[in-house]
Symmetry: C2
Subunit: 226 residues, 2 copies
């Protein structure tokens, strides 16, 4: 395959991003990556040192941008509401920057979203990077939710955050596969940003509110049984 545009380093990163997403870390060989990018194996180890570090760089490359966009979106919501915004705005700040890039950001972002879903459910050492990046951020996001839901039990918010991530990751990972389109005979389109965003935000926000309400009931029941 002829060499795509860009410097060697970016060519390799783009090819690796796409193949890691499609085939997984072990399924995408260094040779397949350089065959796609039009480079040679030696260049990979010259620029990145190893396959592990290549994956780490693929992930790191786009991570900061998403986190920054989320923080900006949240800060804008805070300014608009003069303090803690409603849950819906917090959810949008966390979900929309990710979803928007995955669906409207071109092939690179689409691959990145699927790659994140893959890495999320891996247990190998090369996932340490993403986990180390994501866990402090998760604390920050749960803090946002807590401030917008005063009185909510932190346990409910913790679980609800996990459910939110699941729904969001699934939505991003389904973009290329589009299972839901086949299941609904084309009625739904997993790649339609407007359609998915409106419903995903409604689903998560409603789900969080319902979880907090159910958690309050659980607490009442535990008091009654005591």
């Amino acid at each position: 395959m002829a060499a795509p545009k860009g410097g060697t380093r970016e060519r390799i990163l783009n090819a690796a991003e796409q193949l890691f997403a499609q085939r997984g870390y072990d399924g995408a060989s260094t040779r397949a990556i350089v065959a796609k990018s039009g480079d040679t194996i030696g260049s990979v180890n010259y620029h990145f040192g190893s396959k592990d570090k290549l994956l780490a760089e693929v992930i790191r490359r786009r991570w900061d941008e998403i986190v920054e966009a989320r923080r900006e979106c949240y800060a804008a919501a805070r300014r608009e509401y003069g303090g803690a915004p409603p849950v819906e705005a917090v959810v949008e700040a966390i979900v929309a920057p990710y979803l928007e890039r995955a669906m409207c950001g071109g092939r690179g972002w689409r691959s990145y979203a699927l790659l994140q879903a893959r890495v999320l459910y891996s247990e190998k050492s090369y996932t340490r990077n993403l986990k180390a990046l994501s866990e402090p951020i998760a604390r920050e996001f749960i803090g946002w939710l807590a401030e917008s839901l005063p009185g909510a039990d932190m346990r409910d918010l913790g679980y609800a955050y996990q459910f939110m991530i699941g729904a969001m990751v699934e939505s991003c990972a389904e973009i290329e596969v589009n299972r839901i389109s086949r299941i609904t005979d084309g009625l739904c389109d997993a790649a339609d940003y407007g359609q998915v965003k409106a419903r995903l935000l409604a689903f998560i926000s409603g789900g969080i509110r319902a979880t907090v309400a159910a958690g309050a009931n659980l607490s009442v029941e535990s008091l009654k049984s005591a």
Copy 2:
């Protein structure tokens, strides 16, 4: 490693289930599998023909049981309510049989749940099996939801179903990793069936209701703009 109990076929299936879940299909070599089960490579190809077919059998082995349990749970809810049960009962029929086995069914079921999450986000040929199994079932489940939410737009239900699967798969895949426990300083436990089930059912049911409501608003807006 000494051979665990059971026949050769089951020993290999159990070892493959665990290693496929931990390392992924490409990351778990046939040699590593038989090293864990205490058998030899030849036995794998004698009993299963190939590594592909071994994975297919690992998935198929537990799939039918879950689907059957879901149908029985739904049928019981229909009997109880004398027709279409409320959304909460439908969600419980779909989620609980899966979640309960993943959390209370021993190591085998725990590995199976993680393996499903991995396969769900793979694009390789060996995932065709699970996809061929899951898509007709998805139609059936969405039909259940539709009957319990008369008047709901089928598009809303399709998307909501996708979000539900995401939240459920994430919850099952997190059992071993337990990220949420670290994030919340031990306040949450992703492996606590009672805690997770109550909140996951509340999250999904509330999310579905909110999605349907938001979809209705979207339709109204599209009418207004027309």
